[in-house]
Symmetry: C2
Subunit: 311 residues, 2 copies
């Protein structure tokens, strides 16, 4: 079978660090063109825009989108209208409305779309799903606490309207939990702690539940310089499952478990390849919907101003 000819839009940090290495390691794909306004990608044809790529570039079957979510909607629409399969980095769009429209458009065009919630492919996730499948869940506790100055130096957009603030990492936790649980989650209440000089929360507490009234609590903190942690603990009648390091490590009742050795983005592209083969899509809105609902019903508490030392 011929490899899938792939174009990539937005050759920034995540594309350079994760997407391109994963694509190049997968014989099922061949990266043939990149659209970017920054530094070009070596070894392929580079274009200044998606339009130019589609018009003057080599033929592509699929396009991966690594641009920021603001402004991505029109680009993905354009690719779908051209009949291309699409892989869309998280979060898929700036609003839920845009994401829902892409789901419909992909269905109408009969192409494959993947909303790539990359944390769902962390090494421990599938083993955790397997273990949970036959257990009786009692409660879920998420702690996602990191230092924004280390991970997002100088990225002011994260604090502006439409920026996710602490939900930028937090949505990764939500994407994992919604993958682990069989039923959808609902936001019951949320507290968003917003620095006086910002629009987006630097910390948040979210209370969620499912139709069976499962108690799910999340604590997000973006100003957590010491002992960063990205953990999800699920208490079951039969024992306690814990994911650490964003899903890389899995333990059951404190005993470390054997997990997958495949990298997140390697697994993302394998999944995308299978979707294209099956003419299927995987466009789960749930993580974005939980964030939007947290902003919708959340109470806001003003906290002290945040100054990025990188600026």
């Amino acid at each position: 079978m011929q490899p899938i000819r792939l174009g990539l839009v937005g050759y920034g940090k995540i594309a350079q660090d994760q997407h391109v290495p994963a694509i190049n390691a997968d014989p099922g794909f061949r990266l043939v063109a990149v659209a970017t306004q920054g530094k070009p990608c070596a070894g392929v044809e580079n274009f200044h825009s998606l339009s130019e790529l589609l018009e003057h570039g080599p033929e592509v079957d699929a396009i991966a989108f690594c641009t920021p979510p603001q402004g991505r909607f029109a680009l993905v629409q354009q690719a779908l209208a051209a009949g291309k399969h699409v892989l869309v980095e998280k979060p898929p769009c700036a609003t839920l409305g845009e994401a829902m429209a892409l789901v419909n458009q992909a269905r109408q065009q009969d192409v494959s779309a993947l909303f790539a919630w990359h944390s769902r492919y962390a090494p421990g996730i599938e083993a955790a799903r397997d273990w949970l499948a036959s257990r009786t869940l009692q409660s879920v506790r998420i702690d996602w606490k990191e230092d924004v100055c280390k991970w997002h130096p100088g990225q002011t957009w994260i604090w502006q309207p439409g920026g996710l603030g602490v939900f930028d990492p937090g949505i990764n936790a939500l994407s994992i939990v919604t993958r682990l649980l069989a039923q959808p989650l609902f936001v019951d209440s949320a507290e968003l702690r917003v620095p006086d000089n910002c629009q987006s929360p630097i910390a948040a507490s979210i209370k969620m539940s499912d139709a069976s009234r499962l108690d799910v609590q999340a604590e997000f903190d973006f100003d957590h310089g010491h002992d960063e942690l990205w953990s999800i603990e699920i208490r079951c009648a039969e024992g306690v499952l814990r994911l650490d390091n964003g899903g890389a490590l899995l333990s059951i009742d404190g005993v470390r478990q054997v997990v997958s050795e495949e990298g997140e983005y390697t697994a993302v592209y394998r999944h995308f390849r299978q979707l294209i083969g099956d003419r299927a899509s995987d466009v789960d809105l749930q993580p974005l919907r939980l964030v939007a609902d947290s902003f919708f019903v959340g109470s806001r508490v003003a906290v002290e101003p945040f100054y990025d030392p990188a600026r």
Copy 2:
């Protein structure tokens, strides 16, 4: 044909003023039971809860929900699980996640569900749709400006987390506009003006567009004592359509048009009856989704505190 046996949950102001008169005027329905914790409804059996109604009440085919959106989700789920058709007052739920889950559950149960965006049944709306169908739209301007102290005296919940603030009336405008336009709308940006002592906006400006880049602007104001107005003006290549008084009045190029004489809730129940007859549903999420996306991407500006004179 036998009339549809109807139960009603939440016998508050909207039920007393609108629902029950409309139900009683429609020979296709017979109101047989009410669940309420307040004053009972004359002429029918009254119960303290939906559970009691379902367990001990007369057989019902359908249930209308007039309780506040907070807490409504579990009740509607219960009715759907019991195989009842449901009519749900606006907004259908407290969050988008809950509303989406109800849509799925109604589909699975194969019953009829109606999210009753009552303003869509205002007298001028269908005539406006007819006129617009063959026109080329250029821009849409919404002005929804009223005095909260007059319409919601003492209703503190409107200002609390999850309360819609000025979007409580504003969602009516959004429900009309999304009924008039052929394509879905997306929130591009929003400014939410939130009183210092409240959680929800007292005024808002929203910029929206559709896939054809139609320019749609909304101005919501909830602290507008003088010259209240609820108007939607749609500029077309062929002329200007204007709805006033929340859709009750329609004019084209300044000339008043003949409109329907049917009341909003009479039309709501006629529609519900037809849906039940057709085994169909009408569960449009779009107005709620536009509000959630406005909260999601909107910038917040603190404005002076709001004190309700009724408290």
